[in-house]
Structure formats: structure tokens, C-alpha cells
């Protein structure tokens, strides 16, 4: 607990893990005189709070003439609910400490995969008792071990296997849904990645993906025609993203130039280091992206950043910040006719850069 400004009052409940305890602890803190008439920043740990619980916290705070100005949470569930209630979700802890805010360099798909693999190994060491979990993990590991040789057919078989297994189907219904949706939209290597995520991570996270392109969808559908593809479910956010207006800019964005737009931005040209592009929706750069790009500035976690060549100093999506890995510190990017388009999006709360085509 720490008071660091005349107006802002930080309440740290990061250690507490249940909702009733949070409310109890909070009400005792709010009894203090110094918490009155303040803008309160609430720091929570990994606790999933529902709408009613957050609303009751909000009313507790407004009861002492203070305002709940922002919530800092590790739980994605809480974050979503808070955002839907119009509360700013910030990462106070990271910013308030002397540590630099974007401490995490952005990852490539391969790095994410490696990390997931190592996590899997750790998990399998710990959770040997759970047979089902082990089975799932094994299939995930096998899958990734043979990754380089595997072609689409093997993946298909594996997915079929997993579908035929009734236990698994019961256990992981959500996953299958996700599977199909993802397979439909992602290309080969990404399928592996996503499978790893599905098989490896224990808590199910609802990550839906937009449709990439009509052509892509068509191809993937053909390959995986055996699988029953559920109807594409659009979330509210997806529809919002698509209904955003789009701004086209046909020029090179140079150092010091700022572009802000409450919609999607498409830039035909390069974005030099030192420029800043902020969009509520997606950012697409038909050129080399070397500046700072902030997609989904309004808090939209599903916004993406695409570029023919991704060399951004910083990538920001919604409230996720990442910086360019120090190893990528190149003086300049050679302009060639063959680029590998890349796309950045949030996976499990981290910004990951995917190559669109290999």
C-alpha cells in the first residue's frame, strides 16, 4: 500500500487470491481517512472477478467520495470485465517501479513455441498423476517434436485422433471449437503453434481469431474437410473492429511525425524510426515498419499490427507493450523486392510476431 500523489491512492491487493477476502480487505482500507476524496488505483493479483464483484468494489469506493480510476490485474477475465465497465486497466506495478515499462521484447512464433515446449516439460514433471492431462500433453509433445517433418496430413490425423477420443472431447470441448476456428484461419506452422498452446496450457483461454482472408480460409477448409467446422462466432469486439473506419495514408512517415486515428490505419509507404502511429483498430503498413505502432489504443485486445517488414522499436497492442529485442539492433533495413510479411497480435497476454507466409 502506497500513497504516491495527492490525488492518486494506490491499493495493493496483489497477494490476495479470493474475491471475498479482497472485498473484506478493501473495506478495511477504505475506512482510513487518507483514502477519501481520491482517485483510487486498485492492484489485484491473479483473481477472476465478475461484473457484480467489480461493481460492488466500485460502489464501496464511491461510498467514500473516491473514484475507482484504474485497475491493475493479472487476470484476463477481470481485465475484460473492467474494460466492459469502462474502467481503465493499467499496469501500475510495472510503470511505477523504476523498471522500464516494456521490459518484454516481442517474440517470434518460434520463440513462443520454444517457451511453450519448456513449460510443457515442466508441467509434465509436476503433474504425472493426472493421466488425461498427461495424454494430452504427450500428444502435444509428439506433435511438436516431429514438427519439421510433419505435413498437413499428420496434423489432420492427430486432430482426428483427438476428436475420436471421447474423454478428450468431453474434457476439451472448447478447445476443439478453438481448434477448428484457428486451423481455418492460420497457416501451417501457426497450426502447430496453436496446437501446442491448446495441448500445453492447462487453463483454457478463449482466444478467437478473425478470419485472415477468403483465400486462406478456402485452402484450409479443403485440407481439413473431415472436421466439422462450427459456425464462425463473431464476438462483439470483432464486429466493432470491422466496422471501424479506415484511413489510407500514401506517404513515408518520418521521424517525429504522429498519426492518430480512431479506426484502422493503412499506410502505403515506410514508417521510419521515431514516428508514432496510434490507431483504435488495426495498423497495416505496406512497407517497413520501424517506428512505434500502437494498435487497439482504445483497449481492443484483438487489434493487430501488420507490416511487410517488422522492425518496430516498440509494438503496443491495447495495454500490452513490447520492445524490439536488442539482438535486432540493425542500422538499417535493406530494401528488397522480397519481403516476408509479418503480423503481431496478442497471445496469452504477450505480443507475438508471426510470419504470414513462409
Amino acid at each position: 500500500m502506497e500513497q504516491y500523489n495527492d490525488n492518486v491512492y494506490l491499493i495493493d491487493l496483489g497477494e490476495i487470491n479470493t474475491a471475498p477476502e479482497i472485498i473484506f480487505e478493501l473495506s478495511s482500507i477504505l475506512d482510513k481517512e487518507e483514502a477519501k476524496n481520491k482517485r483510487i488505483c486498485l492492484k489485484l493479483g491473479n483473481v477472476d472477478l465478475n461484473q457484480a464483484q467489480i461493481l460492488s468494489i466500485k460502489s464501496l469506493i464511491s461510498g467514500i467520495d473516491s473514484i475507482l480510476s484504474s485497475i491493475d490485474t493479472k487476470s484476463i477475465e477481470t481485465e475484460k470485465v473492467a474494460l466492459s465497465l469502462g474502467i481503465i486497466v493499467s499496469n501500475i506495478s510495472a510503470e511505477n517501479s523504476l523498471e522500464v515499462a516494456p521490459t518484454m521484447p516481442y517474440k517470434t512464433a518460434d520463440e513462443l513455441k520454444e517457451e511453450i515446449l519448456s513449460q510443457e516439460q515442466k508441467q509434465s514433471d509436476i503433474e504425472e498423476d493426472y493421466n488425461i492431462v498427461e495424454e494430452v500433453e504427450e500428444s502435444g509433445e509428439n506433435n511438436s517434436e516431429h514438427k519439421p517433418e510433419i505435413d498437413e496430413k499428420t496434423v489432420k490425423e492427430e486432430i482426428k485422433e483427438s476428436e475420436q477420443n471421447p474423454q478428450l472431447e468431453q474434457q476439451k470441448e472448447d478447445f476443439d471449437k478453438q481448434n477448428n476456428e484457428e486451423i481455418k484461419t492460420e497457416d501451417k506452422e501457426e497450426v502447430f503453434d496453436e496446437l501446442d498452446v491448446i495441448f500445453g496450457s492447462s487453463p483454457a483461454k478463449n482466444t478467437f481469431f478473425d478470419m485472415e482472408s477468403e483465400q486462406n480460409k478456402y485452402e484450409e477448409k479443403e485440407e481439413l474437410s473431415d472436421i466439422i467446422v462450427p459456425e464462425q462466432e463473431y464476438t462483439k469486439e470483432d464486429i466493432e473492429l470491422e466496422s471501424f473506419p479506415t484511413k489510407y495514408i500514401k506517404q513515408t512517415i518520418r521521424s517525429g511525425q504522429v498519426i492518430n486515428y480512431e479506426g484502422n490505419i493503412v499506410i502505403i509507404g515506410d514508417c521510419h524510426p521515431g514516428c508514432e502511429i496510434t490507431a483504435f483498430g488495426d495498423i497495416t503498413v505496406w512497407g517497413i515498419l520501424s517506428g512505434i505502432a500502437h494498435a487497439g489504443a482504445g483497449g481492443n485486445q484483438k487489434a493487430r499490427v501488420r507490416a511487410l517488414k517488422m522492425n518496430a522499436i516498440q509494438l503496443r497492442i491495447a495495454n500490452c507493450y513490447s520492445r524490439r529485442p536488442d539482438s535486432l539492433n540493425t542500422v538499417y533495413i535493406e530494401k528488397t523486392n522480397s519481403f516476408t510479411p509479418e503480423e503481431a497480435r496478442i497471445i496469452n497476454g504477450e505480443i507475438v510476431v508471426f510470419k504470414i507466409n513462409d
Binding site: Y4, N5, E95, N96, S97, L98, E99, V100, A101, P102, P105, S255, G256, Q257, V258, P273, G274, C275, E276, I313, Q314, Y321, R323, R324, D326, N329, V331
Partner: protein
């Protein structure tokens, strides 16, 4: 703790203000002092690039001034040395975004937590310069042994003497080429000191390694072998109050050069 606020200025552009700031800051931090570097060159920031911290900047000096963030949040810690922090300038704004009073307030706050606050001044004598020197009590005037740079340095020293708050100023002569001085193509260090009648705090030899270090984002003081790096470390020690003799910059490094020097010495003796 009451830190010292030192502004690094020159008047003329391109003489090495930013390089000097980055290297002296790093050298001081290496010696265990808590250092914060403040870039006041708003709109044309480079200090972050020299330190290799470009990709870590989220909040800038302008954000602090406009109260979009806390001062602590805007301080970017160095990759290697936890004693060194950078307060970066905004790239997307101009010099008018920060006033002299606002910068003074910030340096007052920083004084409490840091031993040294080094302010990297923009080129010129306009508002940006006036803002940068506002919070400082000491100044380092960087110049090169060229007439244009020396004239500008003279102008700057005049302005510093007239400014309130600047208690002392020292001269730093950058990009000195001993060989050119020998052949009378360049003003010597003594010439510069005599023209400006100001005590030097350091003489930095020209070093091609500076270009590489700038491109890599790695201050040259981290390179043990570099002569310029050594000279900067000595400057840092002198700032700290130590009595360090000036580096013999015209000592050639390679064996052939040493032999040549030795033979030249013999020749001179013979003539006498």
C-alpha cells in the same frame, strides 16, 4: 542527498555534446555514482540512441511536464548499469513544450535521489538552450579545435556568465588530432584555452571508434582499449574532484609509431 546538476553545452552543433553526455554519464555510473541523463533536445533526440535505449522509451520529458506520468516512470534504466538512468526527450514535439521553470522543478526533484544530473543541451542559443541551463549550477562547454566552434563556445561562455545559477564552467576540447597540431594545421589545446581563457576539464582525442559506438548504441567508455574512452573516464574522475593528470594523447599505439617517435627524439637531440 543533494546531487550536482551539470549542463553539457556548446553552441555549435556536431561538436559532441551528446557523445560527451553519454560517456561521462556512463563513466560516472561505472564509478558507483547514481547518475541521471536528461535529454533536452526535444524533437531531435539522440541520447537514447547512443545509449542503446531507444526501444525502451515509453514516457518522455514532455510527458512528465504535462503530468501524463510520474517522474519515476519516465526514467529509463540503462541495460548494463543500474546506476544510470535516462530521461528522454520527446521526438514528436518541439522545444517550446518545456519551459525553464518546468525543467528546474524536475532537476530539483531529481537532485534528491541522484548524485549527478547531466543535462544534454540542444545546439543554439535560443529557448532550448535557456531551458537547459535553467536548472544547472555547473556547465561543461564542449568545443573542437576549430575557429567556428571556438567562437560559438566563447559566445556560450558569455551567456553562461550572465545566467543566474551557473556557478562554474569548464572547457572540454573534443576531437583533437595530435598529428594535425604537430603539423600546425590545427589549433593546439593551449591555443584554445588561451583564446577562451577558461580551464579545461578534459581533452578528448579524435577516435573512429566513436562512430562505431554510436551506431551500436554502446558508449565508448565501455571499450577499455579506446583512447577516447580513457579520456572520458578521466574527465568523469575530474568532475568527481579527483586530481587526474591529462592523458598523453599523442602517444602512438603501434610499434612503428613508437620507434618513429624515439628516432625523432634522437634527431632533435642531435640537432641541439
Amino acid at each position: 542527498m543533494a546531487g550536482r546538476v551539470i549542463v553539457i553545452t556548446s553552441g555549435k552543433g556536431g561538436v559532441g555534446k551528446t557523445t560527451t553526455s553519454a560517456n561521462i554519464g556512463t563513466a560516472l555510473a561505472k564509478n558507483g555514482h547514481k547518475v541521471v541523463l536528461v535529454d533536452t533536445d526535444i524533437g531531435l533526440r539522440n541520447l537514447d540512441l547512443l545509449l542503446g535505449l531507444e526501444n525502451r522509451i515509453v514516457y518522455t520529458l514532455v510527458d512528465v511536464v504535462e503530468e501524463r506520468c510520474k517522474l519515476k516512470q519516465a526514467l529509463v534504466k540503462d541495460k548494463k548499469n543500474p546506476n544510470l538512468c535516462l530521461l528522454a526527450a520527446a521526438q514528436t514535439r518541439d522545444k517550446s513544450s518545456v519551459s525553464a521553470e518546468q525543467l528546474k522543478k524536475i532537476t530539483e526533484k531529481l537532485k534528491k535521489d541522484y548524485d549527478y544530473i547531466l543535462i544534454d543541451c540542444p545546439a543554439g542559443i535560443e529557448q532550448g538552450f535557456q531551458t537547459a541551463i535553467a536548472g544547472a549550477s555547473e556547465a561543461i562547454v564542449v568545443t573542437t579545435p576549430e575557429m567556428s566552434a571556438v567562437r560559438d563556445a566563447d559566445r556560450i561562455i558569455g551567456l553562461l556568465e550572465a545566467a543566474d545559477g551557473i556557478e562554474s564552467y569548464k572547457l572540454l576540447i573534443n576531437r583533437v588530432r595530435p598529428n594535425m597540431i604537430k603539423s600546425n594545421d590545427m589549433m593546439s589545446v593551449d591555443d584554445v584555452v588561451n583564446i577562451l581563457s577558461c580551464q579545461p576539464i578534459g581533452v578528448i582525442p579524435e577516435d573512429t571508434g566513436i562512430i562505431t559506438s554510436t551506431n551500436r548504441g554502446e558508449p565508448i567508455v565501455n571499450n577499455e582499449k579506446s583512447l577516447a574512452g580513457k579520456a572520458y573516464i578521466n574527465v568523469a574522475r575530474r568532475i568527481n574532484g579527483e586530481d587526474v593528470p591529462f592523458l598523453d594523447i599523442d602517444e602512438p599505439k603501434n610499434l612503428v609509431g613508437k620507434l618513429k617517435k624515439f628516432l625523432c627524439g634522437l634527431k632533435k637531440q642531435g640537432k641541439e
